[in-house]
């Protein structure tokens, strides 16, 4: 087989695999635009023609989506805000200073980063309910920040270390204070890192399900993932209205997909950087 033919066949295979992989995402969007009557048929509809937005209208009708959206936004913004500040300060500490306890801190951060929510949610539930913060933005945010801050520190550490301290010193020689040098030289160079970690924190908090399920038991306090699950469950008690469920899923997924595409590259290299660089 000639090299060109081989390459052509493999390319065709790659495209087929791409289509298979993307199919569930397509199917979600597709079903969300098809009237439920048509989805009831035993023959699937592969293209949404004629398309309808009635599923979206039905999904948004009772306003619970907006309540969940508000809750998700409040929690996510709180997490992103504090996470970036806390992680930034810690990243400066571990990449600009050598001090006693530094290695222990780094090890602790790396271990905490690996701890699964499934291993701690019972205790987190007891703790948060003991201080009366179930169903509140604060309770769940504290847990989220603690869960997200380790990886964010790790990510930012690389960025802070990437800005040579010499640059700051040069600015200090030119008469800036150390703080001034940091704010005017290093900080702007860190902007991409801050954006990347902010988006990472956003995605984690926005998508989180396990801890939210435990700490936000009331329906009025549900975040979008809980709302979506509740929506499916409610819908399943009668004949599942898949059109509306898919419209709901699409509403939850679209902002995430957009943000994810922005941060994807850094996320991959952050997780395996040591290995890829060799």
């Amino acid at each position: 087989m000639s090299a060109r033919l081989r390459r052509g066949l493999l390319s065709a295979l790659a495209i087929v695999i791409a289509l298979v992989w993307v199919f569930p995402v397509y199917w979600m969007a597709n079903s969300s635009f098809i009237p439920n009557i048509q989805l009831q048929s035993f023959i699937p509809t592969f293209f949404p023609a004629p398309a309808t937005i009635s599923n979206y209208v039905g999904t948004l009708a009772d306003g619970s989506f907006f309540s969940a959206l508000g809750m998700s936004l409040a929690i996510t913004l709180t997490v992103v805000f504090f996470c970036i500040i806390f992680a930034f300060l810690a990243a400066v500490a571990i990449s600009r200073f050598r001090f006693r306890g530094r290695t222990s801190f780094v090890i602790a951060v790396l271990i905490v980063q690996m701890l699964p929510a499934e291993g701690l949610f019972i205790a987190q539930y007891k703790m948060v309910s003991a201080v009366g913060l179930l169903d509140s933005v604060i309770g769940v945010s504290v847990i989220y920040i603690a869960a997200v801050v380790p990886f964010t520190i790790w990510m930012l550490r690389g960025f802070v270390a990437g800005v040579p301290a010499d640059l700051e010193e040069a600015a200090m020689v030119d008469g800036l204070s150390r703080f001034g040098a940091f704010m005017r030289i290093t900080f702007p160079l860190l902007a991409p890192g801050l954006v990347a970690s902010g988006v990472y924190a956003f995605l984690q908090a926005w998508n989180e399900f396990t801890v939210a399920l435990v700490l936000l038991p009331s329906e009025s306090a549900h975040t979008l993932p809980l709302w979506l699950r509740g929506f499916v469950q409610a819908s399943a008690t009668k004949e599942t209205d898949w059109g509306q469920v898919m419209a709901a899923s699409t509403l939850v997924a679209v902002p995430v997909i957009i943000f994810f595409l922005i941060v994807q590259g850094r996320l991959t290299s952050g997780l395996v950087s040591g290995a890829v660089k060799g």
Binding site: W21, E118, V149
Partner: protein, 302 residues
């Protein structure tokens, strides 16, 4: 270096900078962890929920767990699920990475976009779509399988028995995880220099030998880390199993560790036992993570 390194010794600055992160980690992770270890050594059932003091029972919870056949089935199922899923994910991801390296730029971009979209899907949204795809009566999967001559999958209920339930769970988790693996390994592949490969080709090696003796050793570190992360992540499939159980059956045969703990903590209200099982999960995770943490530490010290 001098301006910053002088006065670095005993300088309070780094400690002050760490205060917020340390405080939040202690509040969100440290305290629950300690509470959990303590609770796992106590009898903490329904009576304690209503304020009765929790007596220390030493390792009784663990002893009870050790003798609990249900738990061992759950542990076994979780480990088998985790290991099978992680290895299949790795194999598929590695093949797709090799495919990316072998095809035209256009085909590669199409494949990468397809994988990225799947990767970006929020877990809960992905689960609803997959449950719809595997729907007994109107799911596309049954429809397509039924079109194969001789196959009768009409109204086949995938979520009704554990074997097909976990097959579906595994397929979904693999679908979600392969993109990360494929991108990571592809990134590793691009580090293998073309000159070395050409030299090897001139020396008369065939494609398989070049893969086995040159490419494979060079991407081994990436593969090790990716496999480790997959093993750790595939232990925590609480969301996926919970949603599949919503659509299927509530029966205990469909539990993995996460949902098992949740059930102990919520329906049985047995926090002592739930904590003991949680500690088991944490121990398995930390044992698995150790190599990963070590490799990251090496990078930190470099």
């Amino acid at each position: 270096m001098s301006a910053i390194s002088t006065g670095r010794r005993r300088h309070p600055a780094p400690y002050l900078l760490l205060v917020p992160a340390v405080v939040i980690l202690l509040a969100g992770m440290g305290y629950p962890l300690v509470f959990q270890i303590v609770t796992s050594l106590q009898e903490y059932g329904l009576a304690q929920q209503f304020g009765k003091p929790a007596p220390f029972v030493g390792l009784d919870n663990y002893a009870e767990l050790a003798g609990n056949a249900d738990l061992w089935w759950v542990v076994l199922r979780s480990l088998v699920f985790c290991i099978v899923t992680a290895f299949v994910t790795l194999a598929v991801g590695a093949l797709l990475a090799l495919l990316m390296a072998a095809v035209t730029t256009a085909a590669r971009l199409i494949l990468q976009v397809g994988l990225l979209l799947a990767w970006a899907m929020p877990v809960v949204a992905a689960m609803t779509v997959w449950i719809w795809l595997f729907d007994r009566r109107r799911g596309v999967v049954n429809y397509l399988l039924d079109m194969i001559p001789g196959v009768d999958m009409n109204r086949f209920d995938w979520l009704a028995q554990p074997s097909t339930f976990f097959l579906v769970a595994s397929v979904i988790v693999i679908w979600m995880s392969v993109p990360f693996v494929a991108f990571s390994i592809y990134a590793g592949l691009t580090q293998v220099s073309d000159e070395v490969l050409e030299a090897a080709q001139l020396d008369g090696t065939n494609g398989w030998q070049r893969f086995w003796f040159i490419i494979a050793p060079m991407i081994r570190p990436v593969i090790a880390i990716v496999l480790l992360l997959q093993l750790i992540w595939d232990l925590r499939v609480f969301t996926q199993i919970t949603m599949l159980k919503d659509a299927g059956s509530k029966s205990g045969e469909f539990d993995l560790l996460g949902t098992y703990i949740y059930k102990l903590g919520t329906s049985s209200q047995d926090f002592g036992m739930a904590s003991a099982v949680s500690i088991l999960v944490l121990a398995i995770t930390i044992a698995l993570s150790w190599f990963y943490i070590r490799s990251l530490l090496r990078e930190d010290q470099a």
